[in-house]
């Protein structure tokens, strides 16, 4: 049982660092997801509306390609362009967040029953009113579940950002590797898990509160 007391002692000594890394981690992942939302949701709406098939497949292909690049490789590729640190890390994470957000927004809007759209049009909704009062509320369950999934895995992938010097809980794990310190590795991992689970739970509650069913 000694290791428990040892571990608590470790926590007591290192908690400012742990806190700092955790906050970094949180900001980085939430920042990337928010950036993703700002770009991907409007883009998804546009793609679901556009008649141009070419634009559509082009956009999805590009986003798909980003998705297939291995995380560590994408981070490495960023270095020649953006150097090291926060900027390339967040860019990479942002690129990863695009696909699920885009797909879900697109599918959500496409899934709205055409009969309901016709009713809205026939009743005299203009296109913006139709989008905001009918389509987006009906597509919301898809969109929010896209946000939920994306947030959870971006939080987990953010641990890799430390590799290119962006900090975050990955930093704890990396230094744990360097010093062969199990508590460091353990703490970094646990914190990442806790944040992900909490985020999942929180967004789940929003989903339940705001979805119509």
């Amino acid at each position: 049982m000694e290791w428990i007391t040892d571990y608590f002692q470790f926590l007591a000594e290192r908690y400012p660092d742990i806190l700092k890394y955790t906050v970094e981690h949180l900001l980085m992942s939430i920042g990337s997801v928010v950036l993703g939302i700002v770009i991907a949701i409007p883009l998804g709406i546009y793609l679901s509306k556009t008649e141009k098939k070419l634009v559509n497949s082009f956009a999805f292909t590009i986003v798909n390609v980003f998705q297939t690049i291995p995380t560590i490789a994408l981070l490495a590729i960023m270095i020649p362009f953006l150097g090291i640190g926060l900027k390339p890390a967040m860019t990479a994470l942002f690129l990863y967040s695009l696909l699920p957000l885009l797909r879900n927004t697109y599918t959500g809007i496409k899934s709205v029953d055409p009969k309901i759209i016709e009713a809205a049009r026939g009743m005299g909704y203009n296109s913006l009113q139709q989008l905001f009062r009918v389509e987006l509320p009906l597509a919301f369950p898809y969109i929010i579940s896209g946000i939920r999934v994306t947030t959870v895995y971006i939080i987990s992938w953010t641990t890799l950002a430390a590799v290119i010097g962006a900090g975050g809980l990955g930093g704890l794990i990396l230094s744990g590797l360097g010093f062969n310190s199990k508590p460091l590795i353990f703490t970094g991992t646990i914190m990442a898990i806790v944040i992900a689970v909490l985020a999942d739970h929180l967004i789940g509650r929003v989903e339940k509160r705001l979805s119509y069913k």
């Binding site: 309901i116 016709e118 026939g122 009743m123 203009n126 009113q129 119509y212 069913k213």
Partner: protein
């Protein structure tokens, strides 16, 4: 009144959906567009709120070309009930009904009042239902909401696209009855699309039968049933239904002829005598050109006991009339709907032939009852 003049719809691929349509939808009437699928009935209806744009001809609402009206404004001024209900699943019943008034920026109080009024009109208790979601209602209830949603902003025109086709037969019948009842109160110009002839006969003031983008025949249900324009119409109506209507006793068989007709310049005492002789409480006033001028009832006689007065001085205008060939059943329905005791019978040239009264109807009904009962009759 809505008029379509030489309307055509040609799609980009060259498909002619509508070929030279000339029709009129009269104010305050239910006009039913009917025909096999692909005949253009839905297309014709959707021209009216510009969900589909015609390629040639004119669509006029109260004389105004609708291509000059902003489609959004146009749609907000026309009620629209779609097939499969089309309620917004994410909104409560109240929000659904309030949709168009909200778009028109009515104030909350007015919307609230209107929603309550409309829900009551179709027998849905506002306190019970207004906060529910559409998914918590039965199909019949949902479509009732669909109908009142279309009425919400008090449009004078309502388009209904096979509104009851997705319902079970019992709810469908109920809603048809309710629509007929409601129409008596609201007197809207209703354009109703269906492929169900029974539904059309039941609710229509005017039936417009279409095929391959053309109007094949139009007229009252009775006119179409009695004189189908061609084989296609006969087939579409169905032999059985035609048979049933042809064997039905019609109004002219039972109407009072000369005995119920008085001329406008007849002195009242003479008219009274004629009434007494033939045991009539209502008589029809017809001029030398066989035109109906008015009606004379026992009440007017009672109120105007004056030997110097003529029929023309006291007669009342006639609101409703029936055409020759109308089945007794339909005449009776008309009488009970409008609470009148007698209806003048008019021939094709609009000349008056006589008067059908409730008394004489008893004879006719007795004959219907003595007829061997057919299946479905």
């Amino acid at each position: 009144m809505i008029r379509l003049e030489g309307v055509q719809k040609v799609y980009e691929d060259g498909f002619k959906a509508l070929k030279n349509i000339n029709i009129e939808f009269k104010r305050g009437e239910i006009s039913v567009l009917i025909g096999p699928s692909g005949c253009g009935k839905t297309t014709t209806m959707k021209l009216l709120n510009r969900l589909i744009e015609h390629t040639e001809g004119k669509v006029l609402i109260d004389g105004k070309d609708i291509s000059t009206i902003d489609p959004i404004d146009l749609r907000r001024s026309i009620g629209y009930v779609i097939q499969h209900i089309g309620l917004f699943p994410h909104m409560s019943i109240k929000e659904n009904v309030a949709a168009v008034p909200k778009l028109l920026k009515w104030d909350t109080e007015r919307i609230e009042k209107r929603v309550t009024e409309l829900l009551n009109m179709v027998g849905l208790d506002p306190d019970t239902y207004k906060d529910r979601r559409p998914s918590e209602l039965s199909g019949g209830q949902q479509q009732r909401v669909g109908v009142i949603r279309a009425l919400a902003a008090e449009p004078s025109i309502i388009l209904m696209d096979e509104p009851f086709s997705a319902l079970d037969p019992i709810s469908r019948e109920q809603l048809q009855d309710e629509l007929v009842r409601l129409q008596k109160e609201i007197q809207k110009t209703i354009i109703f699309v269906t492929h169900d002839m029974d539904e059309a006969i039941k609710i229509a003031d005017q039936i417009i039968l279409m095929k391959d983008g053309e109007v094949v025949q139009q007229g009252t249900p009775v006119q179409i049933l009695q004189n189908p324009a061609n084989e296609f119409v006969e087939e579409f109506i169905g032999k059985e239904r035609l048979q049933k209507y042809r064997s039905m006793p019609t109004v002219e068989e039972f109407m009072e002829k000369r005995s119920a007709i008085v001329s406008p310049d007849m002195p009242l005492p003479k008219a009274m005598k004629q009434m007494e002789e033939h045991h009539l409480d209502t008589m029809i006033v017809v001029d030398g050109y066989r035109q109906v001028k008015g009606q004379l009832s026992i009440f007017q006689m009672f109120n105007n006991n004056d030997a110097n007065k003529l029929v023309v001085d006291v007669m009342k205008p006639v609101k409703y009339r029936v055409q020759t060939g109308t089945p007794l059943e339909d005449a009776l329905t008309l009488m009970s709907q409008h609470d009148v005791h007698a209806l003048p019978v008019i021939d094709k040239k609009l000349g008056c032939l006589g008067l059908i009264t409730k008394n004489r109807m008893i004879e006719g009904m007795a004959r219907i009852y003595s007829m061997p009962r057919k299946e479905g009759a």
